[in-house]
Symmetry: C2
Subunit: 412 residues, 2 copies
């Protein structure tokens, strides 16, 4: 007998038929003697409908009220899911965040979970009932409805799994696991049986959006076994995200190839090579709420330095304006940019103990005559920036170079 | 400076434009220095949408979950209304029932308000903020979401007015007040400036559905001045429902003519004239959840009695079956019925002190050759049952007999 927290996202509860399918799946677990706590998001489309209503009233609606509004979405899902479970003969009971209670702190629309009371849920589990908990929402110290922002429902599920010491937190999505890369780019990309939290974090933050980094981080911190599965296919083990590295003899060097489209880079040439120049350049950009990703600094001509960083393409114009102004102030040289670039990364804990991983990647790109514009490395990741026109070619070349294809492997 | 509880129903908050209009109206009150607490229902159509979703899962969904589901409707309204008020420059804050808190007792889907905490609302009012409270819902002793059933939002408004000792509870609807009768039947029916709770109760329960009897009863019990107004027209005082009878010299004898279509009557002839016969006849019908309205018993032939009662037309077949079975048991005579009847009532506290009111009504009907099938009277009401084909003619005749038309009067 195991205790599972099972989270179903918006598309998984997107219609009455889908909710019924979720209930049938949960009922099968319960029938085998497992204990289940269900977490659901708002039905797909519902959040957009509510946002549109709010926007029709005000372009920037008050955040406290926005939370009250959006939280109604999960309220509908938990009630319908509980009804569907009861219809399947499974004793179930829905819970809003304040009924659990899921205590949060911080600002409206982006609160963080502080503490979860587990008395009511434990009582249900012990009585053989399935609690159905609203994801994405919480209650603050003053009893106000709060929401958790992006990735909120996954975070609720992970936090519940931690609080209840569940055996596994299962995230049901519209994909059946984490792949070595995007199968739309590399058709024979392979589903990974397991991946470490660190790898998953790098994959997620690099654009492989199966799970929000926040929930992965949370799960890693509390050592929660996290599994990504498909809610649309009945079998398949999904991908287990775990603290343990694979203990097979032949540890793969690289687990996956992630990529991020829609990147842009900005270069400042001939900046004075003095302490503090990087923070002076990045400071105003960061203060404007623009995420800066890769940062590379090189020694240039005598007493000068060249400095390049990347931002999301949508922030390119704003960032460029801010940097030009700073560069003028400090008497730097030319500020140039390119908003037609992409970032490709090889991710894998295995590269820690393997030399030559970077070379294999660079060779693969060179063999295809793809010029590398920027390089950045970490212990488990090598990222390169290339012209966006090479994206698919580059991903396929690197995927092949690290022998990640499903062909001829038994692992699936 | 007065404190108003203003309740806006589903059609009054049925769209973003309507919500904006509500906010503008409230803002005008606030601008004059009045204090306002707003109560809103779910946007029109929303409750039906939610019920349809639930029905698609189960024809008889679990009541606890039904309450959670339906309560989401008001949650959307309060958030949007608060946003719209803030957009109007009015400080506002939304409250769910459990945030207020509105404590209820009794069964899910038809709970009753037990107690309302007023601390948070009073703090808002004193700070110049407008609380926007979800109607129709409450929280039970175990923290479950409950709903109040039919007329729930009106009841919330009245209960809040009582708890806050408000000066007036204003119910905004799609009509601009209570009329002497249905203007669709009598085009020159007149809007009443005031009506007593007792009259309003009789009017409401007799089919004039401006307010649910439950909220009127509640308001009467706690002496809350209740006003019905139009949310679609900007001026007009509406109708004040009050404990005080009009103190004009010429108290009108009758305030209004109510009627109920879709009635049916069942007659048992030749029942044994012994104690307990009425309860034996009505008992099974009532036990089957069928509302019995008028009951008339007459002495028949020696040792026998004739017995007639009315039910809603939809319950006619069931009631008839039940009564036939009882009549057979007790050896009564024939059981006959008619499901093509209507009930018409003259209502007015003025008739208490006036003799001859009944005669005026009967004369009016006789002058039109309309046969009266049943008569029932109370202190402030005279009801007659007639063939449904005479409904409009009878209502107009009685309306005229009591000089209720707007013609030539200054009262409006």
């Amino acid at each position: 007998m195991a205790l599972y927290v099972q989270k179903f996202g918006g598309t998984s509860v997107g219609s009455v038929e889908r909710i019924r399918a979720v209930a049938e799946r949960v009922a099968r677990f319960v029938a085998t003697g497992d204990q289940v706590v269900v977490v659901v998001s708002a039905m797909s489309g519902e959040t957009n409908r509510l946002v549109d209503l709010a926007q029709a009233i005000h372009s920037d609606p008050e955040e406290r009220e926005m939370d009250v509004l959006l939280a109604s979405g999960e309220q509908v899902s938990i009630a319908l899911t509980a009804m569907a479970l009861i219809d399947q003969g499974v004793a179930a009971r829905s819970y809003l965040a304040d009924q659990v209670a899921i205590h949060t702190q911080g600002q409206h629309t982006r609160s963080r979970i502080k503490k979860i009371d587990t008395e009511r849920l434990r009582a249900d589990i012990e009585a053989g009932r399935v609690p159905v908990v609203a994801g994405f929402q919480g209650v603050d110290g003053d009893g106000n409805v709060t929401t958790l922002g992006r990735g909120g429902s996954d975070t609720t599920a992970v936090a519940l799994a931690a609080a209840l010491e569940a055996d596994e937190c299962q995230i049901y999505t519209d994909v059946d696991g984490v792949y070595t890369t995007d199968p739309r780019v590399v058709p024979d990309a392979r589903r990974l049986d397991r991946i470490t939290f660190e790898e998953m974090l790098e994959m997620a933050s690099l654009g492989a959006k199966v799970l929000h980094p926040r929930s992965v981080e949370f799960a890693g911190k509390y050592g929660i076994a996290l599994r990504v599965l498909s809610s649309f296919e009945d079998d398949g083990p999904g991908t287990l995200i775990t603290v343990e590295e694979s203990n097979t003899m032949e540890q793969p060097v690289v687990s996956g190839i992630a990529f991020a489209r829609d990147e842009a880079k900005i270069t400042v040439q001939g900046a004075p090579d003095v302490p503090g120049v990087a923070s002076k350049m990045i400071g105003p950009v960061s203060a404007a709420g623009i995420d800066v990703d890769m940062i590379v600094q090189n020694v240039g001509a005598a007493g000068q330095t060249d400095f390049t960083f990347t931002v999301k393409r949508g922030d390119y114009a704003d960032a460029m304006r801010l940097v030009r102004s700073v560069a003028d102030e400090m008497g730097a040289g030319e500020v140039t940019g390119d908003n037609r670039i992409v970032k490709i990364s090889a991710v894998g804990v295995g590269m820690r103990s393997h030399a030559g991983v970077a070379m294999r990647m660079f060779d693969a790109l060179a063999a295809e005559n793809i010029n590398i514009q920027m390089i950045s490395t970490s212990e488990i990741k090598i990222s390169v920036v290339v012209d966006e026109k090479y994206l698919e070619l580059a991903v396929r070349a690197i995927h092949e170079a690290f022998e990640l294809s499903g062909n001829g492997k038994e692992e699936v």
